[in-house]
Amino acid sequence: MATKTQEGTKTVQAKEPATARNIALPIYLDYQATTPTDPRVVEAMLPYFTTKFGNPHSRNHSFGWEAEEGVETARAQIAALVGANDKEIIFTSGATESNNLAIKGVGRFYKDRRNEIVTVVTEHKCVLDACRHLEEEGFKVTYLAVKQNGLVDLDHLRQAVTDKTALVSVMAVNNEIGVVQPLKEIAAIAHEKGAFFHTDAAQAAGKIPLDVEDMHIDLMSISAHKMYGPKGIGALYVRRKPRVRLHALIHGGGQERGMRSGTLPVPLIVGFGRAAEIAKNEMAKDNERIRRLSDRLFNGINKQLKDVVLNGDREARFPGNLNLSFSYVEGESLMMGIRDIAVSSGSACTSASLEPSYVLRALGVEEEMAHTSIRFGIGRMTTEAEIDYAIETIVKHVKKLREMSPLWEMVQEGIDLKSIQWSDH
């Protein structure tokens, strides 16, 4: 069984072991769930485990100073990535905590004057859950629908924001479909009514250019492990001018200007800083590669298969995220077939459930199409050979599964699936 690669220059045997083509299996194409730690990041972290291991709050000996210096360098590196001032970066245990802190913290602080929150139905679960929690505390939360391309409708947003709105929270890049929201425009709408603007930039920071000044962002959640840094560390950017105030979630030693207590995990922070520095320096180069690989994957699949749909806006997207619906093929069975390729059929947190993705449903994707979706995440370590192997494997399995699909059969016979009265199940 021979298939032609898209350039048609070489013919490879599908059964040929991947190692013969210098690919290590399994292939990792799940960069939205987490990214591998960049070896340069690990290298930067190691001394802070062994020789520079002091507690950064021990101000009276050099172990503490060294650690503190490591932390402050990292803070500056992260601030530089997003155009912030060092003092505006608060370290947290990750983006989930940052999102919880931003939403609950700001909400609770301004509750007496402003008790409304505006967010979007396609936000990450932790943003939605934090908002629901505030509803229980008496807030009014508006969950805006999105357009079919996954983007926020700015007119709807303008109608939803009132002078009682404390916070507008809209993510920068969606984790499931990769669409990029118009942050600057959203910020302007929030500010017209005096509300603060928070963006969950877990999938965006280090991937697309972000500038808190230019975009007028008041709070921004950042995650290290989505930008080739370590897990367990994140940051919340909190604007100082005009000052954004919030109630802390975790109290105690008063670290991080009282907004987040706890001993700072120095090696993680140093790794986070290094990851931010690398991301800033290499973003243009990385993105050019990622876009090329993403196009190669998309075109390679589409050349050989029909009825493959890209979910989310075609233009306003981070190219490292390709969410594709393979019509008439159920996503989980496809994932099982392409076991050598690590992908996701939804966001990692919810992938154990059988529900079709709420993000795809919000785009108006039919449930049956939502069941056929796979998210491919491409990143810094992805190679052309891996993409080619992925194309070949996916095409082979989609064809096989379509041959076994009663839906595919019916459509080939000209039956409109909508005309069938399906049994309840």
């Binding site: 159920e330 077939g337 059988l354 449930e367 076994m404 699909s405 839906l407 399906w422 049994s423």
Partner: protein, 143 residues
């Protein structure tokens, strides 16, 4: 989650994939499930004059467990009488394939598919069976 060996085998080497002429009087077709739920199974049986299932074919849109469940039942029903085939329980399928709890519904669907195919055959051949049919077969309105 990690899957069992038998399940993987049926998924990778599914038995009896295919289609039979659904208009033939000796063929019964069962179509169960719904695309919106993520599972659709089409199971067909060919029944001899003696009432023995001579052949079975399936096509399934669904997860690996759904594919394996339908593949397994096509093997099981062959050579059985309609009544014997009708007595196959979803628990037997689930047990044989070691389905994880979240996948039990796949075995239920496979059981429904057999019952629907048998019911269709009985309706067409005019030989109503004694057994009560629980399954609600999908109606193909386009035909």
């Amino acid at each position: 989650m990690a899957y069992g060996e038998k399940l993987i085998d049926h998924y990778e080497n599914p038995r009896n994939i295919g289609a039979m002429d659904k208009h033939a009087t000796d063929v019964g077709t069962g179509l169960v499930g719904a695309p919106a739920c993520g599972d659709v199974m089409k199971l067909q049986i060919k029944v001899s004059a003696e009432g023995i299932i001579e052949d079975a074919k399936f096509k399934t849109f669904g997860c690996g467990s759904a594919i394996a469940s339908s593949s397994l039942v096509t093997e099981w029903v062959k050579g059985k009488t309609l009544d014997e085939a009708e007595s196959i329980k979803n628990t037997q399928i689930a047990q044989h394939l070691a389905l994880p709890p979240v996948k039990i519904h796949c075995s239920v669907l496979a059981e429904d598919a057999i019952k629907a195919a048998i019911a269709d055959y009985r309706k067409k051949s005019g030989k109503p069976g004694a057994a009560h049919v629980n399954a609600e077969p999908a109606k193909v309105a386009a035909e």
